[in-house]
Symmetry: C2
Subunit: 217 residues, 2 copies
């Protein structure tokens, strides 16, 4: 039986792949696991049926038999745990990869999201211009440390793994508003990931949700 994931019915980013279902689609593609997609509207996301799947009324979710999961990091981890190819077999290397998965969502993503949220929701506020350098500095500090650790390595810790998938998922999401171009090795790291066939299949699948929609304008 194929797992079912949820994604936005109407792409808020016009199919640029910035929503968190992208990470889950990519993991499923890396694992060679076909899947179904249930599209949900913004209003349906706040209704009891969806809140039963996702306590915080967001996407993505993951359903497989009688198992329902939420949070992109947890879903990618579950896919990696139950299919081959996304986590190393060696126990220590596996534990280190999980450190990077948590670092992606808990250390790297928050300053990048805070910065891009301010760009969207506070651009017209009187304090926007004054606050933005502080948010830039926070994002750059985190990206600078990540850049320093990655150095000229291809992936974070040995072969490509769910660690890179989550980290690139976070960096890719901040590309349109981010400071990524300040760090050539991080830009190259994201480009290497984007060149993976599984990434491309996942990207095309999420784009099709947008391009298949009838024009309303």
């Amino acid at each position: 039986m194929k797992p079912t994931i949820t994604a936005f019915e109407r792409s808020p980013d016009r199919g640029r792949g910035l929503a968190r279902d992208m990470r889950v689609r990519w993991a499923l593609e890396e694992a060679g696991q076909p899947y179904e997609v249930r599209l949900v509207s913004f209003s349906a996301m706040k209704e009891p049926a969806h809140l039963a799947r996702h306590p915080f009324g967001q996407i993505p979710t993951y359903e497989e038999g009688d198992l329902t999961l939420f949070e992109s990091g947890a879903i990618v981890f579950h896919i990696a745990q139950t299919r081959a190819g996304l986590l190393p077999d060696d126990a220590n290397a596996r534990a280190r990869a999980i450190s990077w998965m948590f670092a992606a969502v808990n250390t790297v993503e928050p300053p990048l999201v805070e910065r891009s949220m301010a760009m969207v929701f506070e651009r017209d506020k009187p304090w926007y211009e004054q606050r933005q350098p502080m948010l830039d500095a926070r994002a750059s500090k985190t990206l600078g440390l990540l850049s320093g650790r990655l150095g000229d390595a291809e992936w974070l810790d040995g072969a490509f793994s769910a660690a890179d998938l989550m980290m690139v998922g976070v960096l890719f999401r901040s590309k349109p508003t981010g400071n990524l171009e300040e760090y050539p090795n991080l830009s190259a790291y994201v480009a290497r990931a984007e060149a993976r066939p599984a990434f491309k299949r996942a990207f095309d699948a999420q784009l099709a949700v947008f391009t298949d929609q009838p024009s309303t304008g």
Copy 2:
């Protein structure tokens, strides 16, 4: 061999247990695993020796033989994976607990940290009073959804697990600046966790770092 964790040499919160080593200490106490602590100064955290342990120059880290981990969520997960009592044996229940662990650090913690960071670093800014209601609203929305899901249950999903440890770790951290008292079931949830003997041992151990320091003032 006992694992070694790192913690702040000088407690920035005067031993209130708000730093992220609290979660790791608590998990080790729940698992009955003795441990060593290496205290690090703020300057040492930015030096190569510590950056080799933690790419982002933070605490806690976890060292055991030739394994080095960082990120409180990943360390708690590693402790739960390798010791009994912190994750359910049933595979589906275990995957759901991991969803909650990621939700704690990726969905619940960011709006709480953003709000408390603004209270510390932007209190003297001209925009502080105007921005704070927006940050309050974001934090309350997340806490409200969490409160709705918890209902009158004792723990998030069946018996106490690493899911509750991480979620309470996040809620406990925001107690001094948070909106927790608006949600009596969340306050009671945190109080239930604080009453656990393992929590108390962990709390006392981190407090001792502060109280054992010679007064400098």
